[in-house]
Symmetry: D2
Subunit: 358 residues, 4 copies
């Protein structure tokens, strides 16, 4: 089988490392270039001892991030894919020239997730560096945009929190089962979500035996969540979202509090509504390879999806309050970042969607 | 200073251990009796190596739980306090005869928190073992019932989740600042909340690198939470409550989603409402020794209250959604259980309320 | 490619779960039977939600452990392999009849690791249940017994601590580079090493924020370690071994303190000895697919081998003391148990040795 | 009771924070000055939310570290004690002028632990900044130098590893029970031992689910350990020492491998030697307030000493190898640093030795 040449720009962060893990084992990918300012000069295997026994990791060295270097390492650009695992603002600087030279781009930053440069500025605090490209990217959530991703050469891979919130809510909104104004998302994230940043807040001693909320009440990810919810609902949506930091390495658990659109008074009302919800999820995800609808008493647990591209979803209808509670669990670095990006790569390259991900 | 004689019935669980920790160091208490079925025959110091150097722990042995044994160990019952750290249902079996013999009781179980035997049966699944005593106990939340506790000889110490939810919400309800129907409480608890139970779910490997909800949607603690919220609001209250298990030893973080009673349209509305909330909290807790209202950008973090009797509270008014977000952090074993029980002991014995707790 | 039929007897423990993880993804294996007393009636996917999306896990149910059931599930026994992930003593009860019926056995218990029934009784406290089989098993450490394993139908897979100690020491002993009497092994193990046992000692709260030695000074694994060291050294060997429990899920780090056989006085002595050690390891492991000799300043870290079949080895010659310090890191469930067992399966089935393990 | 005025120079690190914790609650101390370059301008309570409810923490602000500021905050220097919780090299810059102005100094850095400026340079890599003061300091291990500390005005508080190694070995060496050349110390430390340093190696994700040795084979603490062992043994001592980093916040567990001086052949030999060891420890520590000799089957566990000034010690004589295994557990920040420093303060101020530490 032919393999596609891959560059990972910004490979020394946690998302970059997860891309390396997945792509070293991918049957159709060949990592041809990894860049990192801080690790230039070292091989992949030296910087990531975990991969040191892989032949590619033994040989391939980090290079400085530079468009010419990347292109020359990739050779035939037509067959290549560039993953950008860079901070927002920086990613756009690479996306633009690489697209011009014909590379296919999967960007894991926030730079091309929003369709509006105004919203971008509101949430990210600076002018969008390449607003003319906003219309060209596809939001890389395969369960929502599979066909567009297949035809695209420029994917904006979703954020970790957005994935954990959108997959459980979009089908319900599309089906008109929940009120768009009612959505409350309470999310718990492992510390890798903060990136490999040497800041005191993320030291072991500061995170272990600790749990805290942060970014209350206006987290940046709200912008892309609400953009996509608006599309699903057909009306503007403003949600409540509280992220928390918990002492695990990987994983996001999201608990969603939702209000049914129908009034539920009798047991029959509840029962009929419950059937609609279940049917809605089965329609949406019954054949999805990476969405796991839990059954019976099972509830999502991050340990069941750690280092996998699966997202677990379960729901409960509360007979006391009439609210619909939906819970999801994913690995923030896999389905929440690198795994989903590889899923997109599989789609746009015409590979099996699950290649390298099971 | 004279000391009060103390018995701790059920001293080998986590709440019992925390009572031992606090009372061994308490200037006005003398532990005269500890009981435990499983540890009978061992000294306190043998079962809890952490306390092994304390003179009392070196000598005092666990006895079988038995009313006669307890009373004879306590001697002059008038000056004694019995803490019950037993499972619900069992606590009542001890409370009744001990009260009859004149002991003062602080019960950490759920048996005497509810005023209604019907609600007890609904939530705990069996008939209440001593319904005639329900009217005699005081709910042991000093910030709400200080004067009653001072005069009482029978305190039902609140649950860990209820403490973390009631302290932030009761003042707002009393002041009419939030809608009683709107309350959503999302709580994260350390594993000691499950007790020292040898069940596979609480093994290190099953909890570490894991986060999961449980008891969705009808946790037993709802019964006492809603009883107290109803009293505060003057109308029946049904809340949404989701507990989660996170990999820390001790601590509960609760995030509350609340709807203001006033409509907030203009900036001036928001500003005035924010002032009311702040004033409400300052009025309620400005002089409370164990409630810490956070200022500025600070948000509650369980590591700041671990092994203390403090509860941290902070709030944010979300200009986008109009919701009031309140967060609290406590140690589930201290302010959420044993520390609060000792605070009640201090009140009913006429000691400094903070004795042994700072 | 044809697949071999697999039975995993005792599949609900941690080693069993790791076998399931590896064999579900193995290109040449087909799990045909999983047994578990406690989980009988559930499917693999119900008991292990992590695997719930795998077609086999969705369908295959746990059966009661029973030789007839196992054999009938396996069908053509000639092509089948049975993994025994059972407690010592119990494993022998299954090994004997299964061998008689022609199955190939890979036993992860301690029952067939020792060549002497006397030593077995000394360390395991009961008579060996099938001493007549002791001569038939091969010790399943591929780096030492590769050719014997290839020809065998009965493999006794090594313990987790023994693997972490034998791989670093055997080549040095064979080469006469260290004194057989000098060996001190200090090992740190994750909690999964204790098995999925619901005992208070292994509760999250008892292990988290704790580190402790156990089994001092006579751990059962000493018996197989010393048996193999004696073979390597040609003389009886008695070692010092201290296991410790640390709060991680998976992984063993072993630090070995060794005395060189040569007297090292001059810098030239040290330098020559260091060269011999390095040469010894390169000769022994330079071509081994799962032994990673670290270079430069790198030291073993369990996080680099977690969920892999690799063992990392590094050494330092201490110029101050003249001692040779060797460190190893492995995953106790993979290279220390199930991964190594699959490596043996690959050998005895004639597959690529690394199949399903990279 | 009169209180002594306290300055803590470098109060924002982990040892500084532990000093703050202990001294805020100390009945004879009054913190008058805390310095920190990074936190200047904040109050103690703002920087350490845990202490925010303490009246002193609410008012006292961090000042820039400056000798004049410190002295003026302390007022009457005769009654004051200055704790230096600074990096080595920097501590000496403060010790010198403060001693000249008459302050009593307890230095938690390594600057004045060694008696030889040559050894200092060998291990710390730079010339000693104040060699003329080396003779004036007392090594602050109360169990060894109690009388000298009482008379001193300048204490060099021991390192965390040295405390965990010296307390178990010095009595044995003094009694001639172990060979000075045989000592191997294998230590496991929580991450707070690395300080509040924002380096990638100490990020939560890099430490959690990881265990690794570091500083092999020549850790800086060897210099003070060997200095004190030499004094105890009367001959030069070179030991083997391997520190490891494990994912706990606080605590050090040390396992010592020791060779008895007597040859142990018969059971009677072993029995007599065991009696000598036990007697030696009882003589040395039977009346020590902070050394806990474990009995029966108990083994040291860091969780039993966390946030206490106790050190647990247990020993086993291995009948198979003839070695003496001694284990110790302490909290690296308390008995290993700040607690021990406060113990020294109690001694040199003439307070109860245990004041503020039980």
């Amino acid at each position: 089988m032919t393999k596609v040449n891959i560059a990972i720009v910004g490979a020394s962060g946690y998302s970059g490392e997860e891309l390396v893990r997945l792509l070293l084992a991918h049957p159709r990918a060949r990592i041809a270039c990894v860049t990192s300012r801080q690790s230039a000069g070292q091989t992949l295997g030296q910087f990531f001892p975990r991969f040191a026994s892989h032949p590619t990791a033994r040989k391939l060295g980090f290079s400085e991030p530079n468009v010419d270097t990347i292109c020359s390492a990739l050779g035939d650009r037509g067959a290549s894919v560039v993953f950008l695992a860079l901070p927002h603002g920086v990613a756009a600087e690479f996306a633009k020239p690489l697209l011009e030279r014909g590379a296919r781009i999967i960007d894991l930053s926030a730079d091309f997730r929003l369709k509006s440069a105004v919203v971008y500025k509101e949430f990210y605090g600076h002018d969008h560096p390449a607003p003319e490209l906003l219309a060209r990217s596809v939001y890389g959530l395969p369960e929502m945009y599979r066909e567009q991703i297949k035809k695209s050469n420029f994917v904006a891979s979703p954020g970790c929190y957005p994935t954990s919130i959108l997959l459980p809510t979009v089908p319900l909104l599309r089906a008109g089962l929940i009120k768009p104004t009612s959505i409350i998302a309470d999310s718990l994230s492992g510390v890798s979500g903060a990136g490999r940043k040497a800041e005191p807040d993320y030291l072991f001693v500061e995170c272990n035996e600790s749990v805290r909320a942060y970014g209350v009440p206006k987290h940046r990810h709200l912008s892309e969540i609400e953009q996509e919810l608006r599309i699903a609902a057909g009306v503007p949506v403003t949600i409540q979202f509280t992220p928390h930091l918990i002492p695990i390495n990987r994983g996001i658990l999201t608990t969603l509090y939702l209000a049914p659109t129908r009034e539920l008074r009798t047991e029959a009302d509840f029962s009929a509504y419950a059937t609609s919800v279940q049917q809605c999820y089965v329609n949406a995800y019954g054949n999805e390879p990476f969405v796991r609808l839990l059954e019976g008493k099972a509830l999502p647990d991050t340990k069941n999806v750690e280092r996998t591209n699966f997202i677990e979803i379960a729901w409960r209808l509360d007979a006391r309050t009439g609210r619909l509670i939906v819970l999801s669990a994913e690995d923030n670095l896999t389905k929440g970042a690198a795994g989903q990006a590889v899923q997109c790569m599989n789609l746009l390259c015409g590979f099996e969607e699950t290649a390298g991900l099971l």
